[in-house]
Subunit: 198 residues, 2 copies
DNA sequence: GTCTATAGAGCGATAGAC
DNA sequence: GTCTATCGCTCTATAGAC
């Protein structure tokens, strides 16, 4: 390897789009969607601030592509956790996994369905969004039938609330218990499901 | 009234700090805490971008003062809604009122307890935060006793999730029902409370 | 107490060299 | 396909006139 990588000087890259997406995930996780900066991502990768615009149309197009990748991972994380046979356990586990992933990666339904990103018309993002939604809707249908939409909304809101409050440091600030967020969110979801479905 | 107000030219003001706070509430509601801009608030009021710095130390100090005023109104809104004798109804009503207010004014526990604003050490903000919290904690104690903290966390997370998803347009996007957010959040909270407390 | 003016920074996006 | 360089914009915050 002659010459270290990530140097500030001249060089070019193997697969810049992929490297940009990877760095974009980190940037999204640390700065959130509002603070997401194309220039900062370019800096992380070690290319000029102009380079990303060769591969993505504009900031929102880039952010949509990053969000799509994040949403795919979110779907995978939720699917990996929601494996119980009992639909109530499965739905509750989905909520717990959602809360933790979204707190950590700052990409949930708020980002996936953000109006600004809808304009980007990213097919991957839309597909990933539907995939995540299905992981909540499917067990909700088994539990509540016609009331599945309402139950899904309730459980998603609960999980999203845990995610955002945790990301903001609210839940961990004056913590009394050391029960992890995933468990607390899952328990809360289970209580909600039991209370809603009787 | 000689000479219209809000002109771009020279003039001075009756009570600029109060006018800045009022405009700051609007700015916070529309742009959210991340997009909150001192310059934009000054423009709304019709003064120079330097004027606010005569009355507030810096951006975060100003934002903390605005958030304090918002939090006081949040406490009032929740208190006005949570009047039931039955503590379960009262807690659920608090959740519904919280969801609506926070969706509309973009000031909830995430802003009140934001690390960046803690540095401003605004006593009003801290007091308002405790006042809101008490409105959840008090009925939770009646319902759950030792489990009040856990129940409060669950209900607050649920209400906050409704608020953020509604603010992001997620709940209203492909709405099937026309039941208002306040009612849906309250119902969800009631189900959660019943499920948690048996 | 409010103004004008400005410094200094960051970002989005484009033009043109290589 | 990546670079350098740059424009135009917005923002925070300060200095000094009035």
């Amino acid at each position: 390897m002659p010459g270290g990588p990530r140097q500030r000087g001249r060089y070019h890259h193997g697969d810049l789009p992929s490297a940009l997406l990877d760095a974009g995930l980190e940037q999204l996780a640390t700065a959130g969607p509002a603070g997401f900066s194309v220039a900062e991502v370019a800096r992380r990768v070690g290319v000029s601030t102009a380079a990303p615009y060769r591969h993505f149309t504009d900031r929102d197009g880039f952010l949509a592509a990053v969000a799509a990748r994040a949403a795919e991972r979110l779907a995978a994380a939720v699917a990996a956790a929601a494996t119980d046979d009992d639909p109530r356990d499965r739905l509750a586990a989905a909520a717990g996994a959602y809360a933790v992933f979204v707190a950590e990666h700052r990409t949930g339904f708020d980002v996936v369905y953000a109006p600004a990103l809808r304009a980007a018309r990213d097919a991957d993002l839309a597909a990933a969004g539907r995939a995540v939604m299905a992981l909540f809707l499917d067990p909700a249908r088994e539990i509540a039938g016609d009331g599945a939409l309402e139950l899904t909304e309730q459980v998603v809101a609960l999980a999203h609330g845990y995610a955002t409050l945790d990301a903001e440091g609210f839940l961990t600030a004056d913590r009394v218990t050391d029960v992890p967020t995933a468990t607390r969110a899952r328990r809360a979801a289970r209580a909600l499901i039991d209370g809603a479905a009787g």
